[in-house]
Symmetry: C2
Subunit: 223 residues, 2 copies
């Protein structure tokens, strides 16, 4: 028995993940038609798992399936991002609020550890490390909140903004700002102030969106 792969991932999931990457990197441009045959040949697979992957992406809202017309990459506009971040701030805020109420002392210790990694990465200006630690912090909070369906919604939205989110850290001064916001959230958590934690998390998410807007504006100026 091979000791390596514990969870044997299905091919359609692998394909779905690759397609997400290509959509977000704008390699597959918004609005363009997806040639199933060409893509299947490209990956060296048949169209069956590819089609299954497209069904999943469609229910995530990343592609639009027009019956008998094929599959098109969904356009993610600035307005879409506004809407998504707005909902995300609501959900993650709720997550923070519940976590503050539920967290055990051991949970808080774990959060402090992750936050320490965040501080460390920020000091070294290690953006990738910061991104990882940031992700870990939010994931930990969701585990503490322990609400399967709240998580379901958040994950769905996170898939859409994942790469944009990453990029937001490249905004001028965003790293320090994000760190400061995290300090505030952690303080509210350890201080057992649910409403404060919720409010600060909401602001933190919306602040991430604002950073993205700044980047978009800077890009437009260049272009």
């Amino acid at each position: 028995m091979t000791a390596s792969r514990i969870a044997p991932l299905a091919l359609y999931q692998e394909v779905a993940e690759r397609l997400r990457q290509r959509i977000f990197s704008h390699e597959l441009q918004a609005g363009t038609w997806i040639d199933e045959q060409a893509l299947a040949d490209d990956y060296g697979i048949s169209r069956t798992p590819l089609r299954e992957a497209l069904k999943v992406l469609a229910s995530e809202g990343l592609v639009t399936l027009k019956p008998r017309r094929g599959c098109y990459v969904t356009e993610i506009s600035e307005r879409d991002l506004d809407e998504i971040f707005s909902v995300m701030s609501l959900l993650e805020g709720q997550c923070a609020q519940i976590s503050t109420k539920k967290a055990t002392d051991a949970d808080l210790d774990r959060l402090r550890q992750i936050h320490a990694q965040l501080e460390e990465a920020a000091k070294k200006e290690d953006i990738n490390g910061f991104f990882e630690a940031n992700q870990a912090f939010h994931t930990a909070l969701q585990e503490i909140a322990d609400n399967r369906w709240l998580l379901h919604c958040i994950e769905d939205l996170r898939k859409v903004i994942r790469l944009s989110r990453h990029h937001s850290l490249f905004s001028e001064g965003r790293l320090e700002q994000s760190l400061e916001e995290h300090r505030g959230i952690l303080a509210a958590l350890t201080g057992r102030e649910p409403d404060t934690a919720e409010l600060r998390m909401r602001e933190h998410i919306l602040s991430g969106r604002a950073a993205l807007v700044r980047i978009a504006k800077a890009k437009n100026k260049v272009a």
Copy 2:
């Protein structure tokens, strides 16, 4: 060209819808394994569109796909319902808040019309009519809020609780209570009080959950 069917629905969508019905009606019981071959034979189709339908249902959270283990109907526990309604109250609350800010006078007129149907159905104790009007009211609110991604999340959750929601109206006195809550929400909307509308909508949703709990308890008493 046939003038009737404007949107020729794909087979996998048809199958997905049928399966949703069967899952909610408990014809396909929670936790049971889905025999793909038997089901395909049952519908007189091949396994391919059935498998695509299952992928969609899986991303909706209705079934669980275990790699190489097959497909199982997701167990929706009382705790799941607690969690779902909790998130729903958050999302629909937000929806009400935004709608209150955005609604034009024409929008408010439309809401008043739908509410009139609700009053009408309640007077006649027409539960199905009440259910329809109730659905229409919430849908109208979502259209006014005009947030595609907020809607996406709500719809995802609504699929899961659709039938339970319907049943909640059969709870003793729930119809009158729901109507009273709707009056409050409409008042907040027309009075242009966003925060009040949000609060009342949240309470309305959670109140629907409470009605479900009462039904569950009554059933247990009988059984």
